[in-house]
């Protein structure tokens, strides 16, 4: 009985996975490899991309290009977005000044910035980093803003009763209380930046993982697209796991629900 309950989920899961694999192979057989290549071929394609360069770069180099863009934009967004959001949450004057301008740009999806970014900064690194920056920036500002704005008033009053100065109130009470929200923002911001770099590379790029899949489309090679998608999924998972680890280290006192 115990054996069954322990392995039951595993059994059902592997059952559904193998069913999906079977479906994949059946579709492959029926519709032909031009429509959907078989899984083995996708795996071979990943190996091939590792070894033989695509437009002068191997898979590793493409990955490094994409990661570098994301990291540059993400770093910039942290440096500018977090202080702005914290200030907006803490200082009413700052909120009143920045909020209306921010509200104009907030609903515009970062991907809609792509054309104007290309007009402004060209098709080189600048525009791609800018787009990722916009994506991460808006999320970071919103999260650090709500984090500091809705700090439990009890905490603030208690600190005031004990005679905390304004600066200490901010640094020792508001910021730590906002950390869970900030970390949620860091995670969402990262996944947003990752999505934006793909979009930017899809629209106009000569390197990066987004370029691999769009090149697969242009060359009519679905196995290349699927290989690129696998790489993208794995990298996205790794980045998210890295941030979760960081959260556990820096902010262990409150875990997010989901």
């Amino acid at each position: 009985m115990k054996f069954k309950s322990q392995f039951y989920p595993l059994f059902l899961g592997s059952l559904s996975l193998s069913a999906a694999l079977l479906l994949w192979i059946i579709v492959n057989q029926m519709a032909g490899p031009r429509f959907l290549p078989n899984p083995l071929k996708v795996f071979e394609e990943i190996v091939r991309l590792f070894k033989t360069p695509l437009s002068g770069r191997t898979l590793i180099e493409h990955v490094i290009f994409s990661l570098r863009r994301v990291m540059a934009a993400y770093g910039l967004a942290i440096v500018t977005g977090l202080p702005l959001g914290l200030m907006m949450g803490w200082n009413a004057t700052c909120r009143k000044i920045v909020m209306p301008i921010f509200e104009i740009f907030r609903p515009i999806p970062p991907i809609a910035w792509i054309p104007i970014a290309i007009l402004w900064l060209g098709v080189a690194e600048g525009s791609k980093i800018y787009i990722c920056y916009v994506g991460a920036f808006i999320i970071l500002v919103l999260n650090s803003f709500t984090g500091t704005r809705y700090v439990d008033p009890l905490l603030i009053q208690a600190a005031k009763v004990f005679g905390a100065s304004k600066k200490r109130l901010f640094l020792a009470v508001a910021v730590p209380a906002a950390l869970p929200s900030i970390f949620a923002g860091l995670q969402n911001g990262m996944s947003m930046a990752w999505m934006c770099v793909l979009a930017a590379e899809l629209v106009g790029g000569r390197e990066g993982v987004g370029f691999i899949i769009i090149q697969g489309m242009n060359l009519d090679r679905p196995e290349m697209i699927l290989a690129g998608m696998v790489v993208i999924g794995v990298l996205g998972t790794v980045l998210a796991a890295f941030l979760r680890l960081l959260e556990k280290l820096i902010c262990p006192w409150r875990r997010q629900l989901v």
């Binding site: 039951y8 989920p9 059902l12 899961g13 592997s14 059952l15 559904s16 996975l17 999906a20 429509f35 004057t93 009143k96 000044i97 920045v98 909020m99 209306p100 301008i101 104009i104 740009f105 907030r106 609903p107 515009i108 999806p109 970062p110 991907i111 809609a112 910035w113 792509i114 054309p115 104007i116 290309i118 007009l119 402004w120 996944s191 990752w194 999505m195 793909l198 979009a199 899809l202 629209v203 987004g210 899949i213 769009i214 697969g216 489309m217 009519d220 679905p222 697209i225 699927l226 690129g228 998608m229 993208i232 999924g233 794995v234 996205g236 998972t237 998210a240 629900l257 989901v258």
Partner: protein, 340 residues
């Protein structure tokens, strides 16, 4: 008390005699008097009766710390009491907006940023109005682009909600279902929907089908995750009570689990709508012959920043309207909800 009530009666007469004579006097008086009463009662009222308190000290009550909006309601017109304080409070925001637009206009006017990079807000408004009745340079009216985008987004979003919410609820309620669907879902989830665009175009061409598919994928994931979490958080007391009263598992799922998941479902829907709108723009940038994304892409190709900016602002505005509508729908739903 008497002093104030007299004053308020006079005010009512002064403002609109007809309304005042129609209403019973108590109704007209009460809202004005209530707030100062509350503010003073704990300090001055010893035996719990407000009348004695006001008789003891009528002057501080009339001139005391009564909120400005309320005293002024006695004599001044509505716009002054209602809008003026708001305007005063928002003066910084207004100022910053005005400064922002002046700066934007000035940067363009003095040629600090060239006309092929940025156009002033005055021209943006002009082009916006012009674009409503002109098809140049991208082949369709602005509203036609907007309608085509909106239709696609709503189509994909609805389909995703119809499939995703029941799937998430079932996964959250029946463990067996979860074991089966979870691995597949976990494989699809980490791949951003945008990465599906090339494959979708290869499979379904550049028409409506490919875009609907991509939008469906984009809005599917948040729907599933949120309805899953929502139904997992159902208060166990409620489900136990229902079971004790002899409800079957499916009835409990339908009558207790699903309603209690509604707030989370709506959070998921909002995320979904955002994702749908974003992904749609990406899909239209890459391959389309109509739609707002196509319009801004054409604007870039023709080096027309005015078209690009008008398109961007329209995208942002429509996105905001969509999520506003969803919030309204949520209020409609949640107010009729009993469980919490």
């Amino acid at each position: 008390m008497n002093y104030l009530s007299r004053q308020s009666n006079q005010a009512a007469d002064f403002q609109s005699p007809a309304a005042a004579s129609n209403q019973p006097p108590s109704e007209a008086r009460e809202p004005i008097l209530e707030t100062p009463e509350k503010g003073l009662a704990p300090v001055e009222c010893s035996n719990g009766r407000p009348e004695t308190a006001s008789k003891a000290s009528p002057i501080p009550k009339a001139e005391g710390p009564i909120e400005p909006g309320q005293t002024r309601a006695d004599w001044s017109p509505h716009w002054l009491t209602h809008w003026w304080p708001k305007l005063i409070e928002a003066r910084l925001s207004l100022l910053s907006l005005i400064v922002f637009f002046i700066l934007w206009e000035g940067v363009c006017y003095f040629g600090i940023i060239g006309p092929y990079q940025l156009v002033p807000p005055s021209k943006v408004i002009k082009i916006f109005i012009l674009k409503l009745t002109e098809v140049n340079p991208d082949g369709a009216y602005l509203w036609a682009h907007a309608l085509s985008s909106l239709g696609l987004a709503v189509l994909g979003f609805m389909a995703a909600a119809l499939v995703g919410i029941p799937l998430g609820l079932l996964m959250g309620w029946y463990p067996r279902f979860n074991y089966i669907a979870r691995p597949l879902f976990d494989i699809i989830r980490p791949v951003p929907p945008i990465a599906w665009i090339p494959l979708a175009i290869l499979w379904l061409g550049i028409g409506v089908k490919a875009k609907a598919f991509i939008i469906f994928l984009a809005s599917f994931v948040p729907c599933v995750i949120n309805s899953f979490t929502g139904i997992r958080l159902t208060n166990p007391t409620l489900t136990r009570v229902a079971k004790i009263h002899g409800a079957s598992d499916f009835t409990v799922f339908l009558k207790i689990g699903t309603p209690s998941a509604i707030p989370m479902i709506f959070t998921g829907l909002r995320l979904s709508l955002n994702a749908a709108w974003t992904t749609l723009v990406a899909a239209e940038l890459l391959a389309a012959s109509q739609g707002l994304g196509f319009m801004i892409q054409m604007g870039r190709r023709l080096a027309r920043p005015d078209i690009v900016i008008v398109g961007m602002l329209t995208i942002g505005f429509l996105g905001a309207i969509l999520s506003w509508g969803l919030t309204k729908a949520e209020k409609l739903f949640v107010s009729s909800r009993r469980l919490s």
